[in-house]
Each structure stands twice: as C-alpha cells, then as structure tokens.
C-alpha cells in the first residue's frame, strides 16, 4: 500500500505562476511590449547619464581618461548622492503620469516598509 499523494501536490505545473509565463495585460500585446520597451529605454538612458557624470568626474580628477576607471571604479560619495537624487527625479518626471491621476506628484519616494 502506498501513501496517497495530497491533492495540492497534483498537477503542480498547471498552477498559475509555477512556470514562468508571458502574461499579457492589454487587448493588444503590442501595448504590453511598448511599456516594457519604454521602461527599459529609461533604464538605458539612465545608464548613459550616470556614465557621463562619472566620466566627467574621472576626467576632472585625473586629468586623463581611463576606460577601466569607468568600468570598475565607483563615483565619489558626493557624486553618488547627486546621481541618486537625480535618478528619482527623472523617474517621477517621466513615469509619474503612467497611472493618470494616481501618478505625478503622488509618486513620492517610499520603500517597501
């Protein structure tokens, strides 16, 4: 005689979320893709802005250009603080309107706790 498998261990692969899927939220998946693309472009734009600011700092401090400094180095604490604030403002400005009346000025910084 074998133990009967509990019901909640049957057909696990059919449970929503068990395997990574590709959920679509809008009538046309093009809209879903566009939102993903817009968010990713924002992240990539931020990478460029961050790198440029770091580049300028490295140039002014060392009076020379070093690719390694840019790739593996870290900006000064002062610049990092400035970048952190600038990034938040950029997200609020560009994406605050996403939820219509729930965005904009309501998009105040708030952590998970």
């Amino acid at each position: 005689m074998t133990d009967k498998k509990p019901n909640d261990l049957e057909n696990l692969k059919d449970l929503p979320g068990f395997k990574r899927s590709n959920p679509i939220y809008f009538e046309s998946e093009v809209v879903d893709h566009l939102i993903s693309i817009v968010l990713d472009l924002g992240a990539e734009l931020w990478v460029v802005k961050d790198r440029l600011a770091h580049f300028e700092e490295v140039l002014s401090e060392n009076n020379k250009f070093s690719l390694t400094d840019l790739q593996v180095g870290k900006p000064s604490e002062l610049l990092q603080e400035k970048l952190d604030e600038e990034r938040k403002q950029m997200i609020k400005r560009i994406y605050g309107r996403l939820y219509s009346k729930y965005g904009g000025e309501l998009a105040e910084e708030k952590g998970a706790i």
Binding site: Y25, A43, V47, V72, L98, G103
Partner: protein
C-alpha cells in the same frame, strides 16, 4: 586556504553582496530599484483604493470566495490604469532578473570558484548532496527568478541581490532580517543552546540570529544546495560560525527535542499547504518541550477581502508565487495549534508580515 577574492574586485554592495560586474549594471539596477519604489510601492495604496472603488461602483461583493475573486479580476483587469500598473510591475521584475543574471554570468567562473573555495573552510560548515532529490513543488520558478532556487548554480547570489531590489533597500545590510530576528521569541526559561532556521535561503536571518545568540549552535537548512553554498560564503564573510545543510523542512534530519528555537521566515507561502502541515509536525518533533517556533509570513485572509485575494492571485502570476493563494486561504495559526503547538502570539502587521509564535507544550 582562502576564498578567491576575485568576486570582490569591485567591492561589496548593501552588506556582503559582491558588487555587480560593472558600473553599467549598477546604474541600470538602481533605476529599476527606484522605479519599483516610486511606481509600485508608493502607488500600492492609491491603486488599492482605486480598485476597491471600481468594485464598489460595479456593485461587487467585497467578500471573498473563488467565484467573486474571478469576477473581480475580470472587472479590474479591464481598467487601463490597473493594466498599466501590473504591466509595469511585471516588466520591472523581468528586467531586474535579466540584468542581475547577465551581470553575474559575466564572471560566473570567479563566483563558482569562490563558492567552491568557501565550502572547504570555516568557521561553520556547509553540507549538500549532488544527488539530492528535489521535490517537484520546489522546482517552481519562485519570483520568476531564472531557474528557480533549486536549478540555477548562482541562485543564492541572484536571490540575495533580487531581495535588495525587491525590498526597495529594506534588505540592505540585512536590516529587515535583523529587525525580524530581534523579535524572535525565546523559550520562557531563557535557555537557548541550539537554533534552527528553516528554508534559510541566502542565510540573512540565520546570520542575524547568530549575532543575537553568539554562543548558540545555529543551523540553516534549505532545499537548494546553491542556496546553502552561498549562505555559507555569506556567513564566512561575516566570520560567523553557522552550519548550513541541504535538507527538506518536512523531513528534518535531526533528533527529537534537540532545538530551543526554530524560525521559518517567508517559507510557508512558498510551499503547498500539505507540506506546511508536515513542516509543523517536524518542527514540533525537533523542538524540546518549552521550545519556541516563530513563523514570519504574510497574514491570512481572515476578513475574506476580495481585493486582497485578487492582489494575491495577480502576485501568483506576476511574481511567480504559485502557492500564495493556497497559503492565504489556509489558517496557519490553526494549523500550528492542530499540529500540537500552544499559540502565544499572532501579530498580523509585523514589518509588513505577520508574526506567529507557538511553544511546544512542556507536558
């Protein structure tokens, strides 16, 4: 024998996590973390209020049952504001895993070598079995993390950095784990010689417990060998003497009555309810009489709130949480009591989670 320091050539981030491979990846992930904070966490309350208003205006019942939850989902997901909110949530989640995995893979060999080096040295230890049989439920791609916890060799690192971003900085320097560990109830007679952390993942709670009880023997167990390997490296970096072992929480390889405290932090919503019952039974067995069991996890659906159930079901899909709906509907406090625990505390709002504490009866 020392750990290869190649993994720390860019220093550490948010505590002991080896910094991502390039400044580019750090900048990208900072954007994702801030976008999550500003566009998701900060919007959760107004989006919740807006959703409830939509339900109310449509005359939908606010009491939850599977049918009303399905109806609520059909109604709410016709709304463009809500579609956008959940699309943003999903897209940011996909982006952060992709960037983290790519960044770690750029120096995969260094990272794996450091994990190999670490398992040969102490303080503490790590034990795992390459032929360990992973139960099917534990192969789920929880949090849509690539490969899940069990199948990706870098899953410990992925999970650790993912927690940083997911928690919006609250997990940095183990702040969240330290807050939780500080509230863990000790047995009434104060004797704490051995502690067990169930489903320890990257070991943040385990190390926090060791700092609070430096003289106690601490064990962290997890179904994933990749997790316990990384948890050991993480503990080593903090010079903490902890034993990590690959083990199922429902089949504990420990003697009866041998622990004073058992902790389960965010484990129960990642397993089917039938497994939760087994874990409770095993926990009672390994705890000594008077020993305490502290369980941190999400609160249950005691109010039968239809929006809360809708949110949980969306999370199941968007965040790869297949067992959350079952967990929320189950009454874990009741399961603990049925399992033989004397319940001492239920706080539904302890640092965004619920804290449940039970003691093993002395007689």
């Amino acid at each position: 024998m020392t750990i290869s320091k190649a993994i720390y050539k860019r220093g550490k981030t948010a505590g002991v996590f080896p910094s991502l491979s390039s400044r580019r990846d750090e900048a990208y992930m900072s954007f994702i973390e801030d976008a999550r904070n500003l566009l998701l966490h900060a919007q959760q309350k107004p989006i919740g209020a807006y959703s409830r208003l939509l339900l109310q205006n449509a005359g939908k019942s606010m009491e939850s049952d599977p049918r009303s939850t399905t109806e609520a989902k059909e109604l709410l997901m016709k709304d463009n504001v809500l579609k956008t909110y959940y699309r943003v949530k999903r897209s940011l989640q996909e982006s952060f895993w992709e960037c983290t995995l790519n960044s770690l893979n750029m120096r995969k060999n260094d990272l794996l070598r450091a994990l190999d080096d670490a398992e040969k040295i102490g303080p503490g230890s790590v034990t795992y079995d390459p032929d360990f049989s992973i139960p099917e439920y534990a192969t789920a791609e929880i949090h849509i993390q690539p490969g899940g916890n069990a199948n990706e060799p870098l899953s410990g690192l992925l999970y650790d950095y993912g927690s940083k971003v997911f928690m919006g900085g609250a997990a940095d320097n183990d702040m969240f784990a330290n807050m939780q560990a500080n509230t863990v109830s000790a047995p009434k007679n104060g004797k704490v010689d051995r502690i067990l952390d169930l489903g320890c993942s990257a070991g943040a709670t385990t190390t926090a417990l060791k700092r609070i009880y430096p003289d106690a023997e601490i064990w962290g167990i997890d179904v994933s060998s990749h997790m316990v390997r990384y948890a050991h490296l993480r503990a080593l970096e903090q010079n903490l003497d902890i034993n990590f072992k690959q083990m199922l929480a429902e089949e504990l390889e420990f003697d009866d009555n041998c622990f004073d405290i058992v902790v389960a932090n965010l484990l129960f919503h990642e397993v089917p309810v039938s497994i939760s019952k087994k874990i409770i039974k095993e926990t009672l067995r390994v705890l000594r009489p008077g020993g305490s069991f502290t369980l941190f996890d999400f609160p249950g659906d005691k109010k039968g709130d239809v929006y809360a159930m809708f949110f949980g079901e969306m999370d199941a899909i968007d965040n790869g949480e297949p067992f959350i709906p079952g967990f929320v509907r189950s009454n874990v406090e009741e399961l603990m009591e049925e399992g033989g625990f004397k319940m001492d505390k239920y706080d539904p709002d302890k640092f965004i989670l619920a804290e449940r504490v039970g003691f093993k009866p002395i007689n």
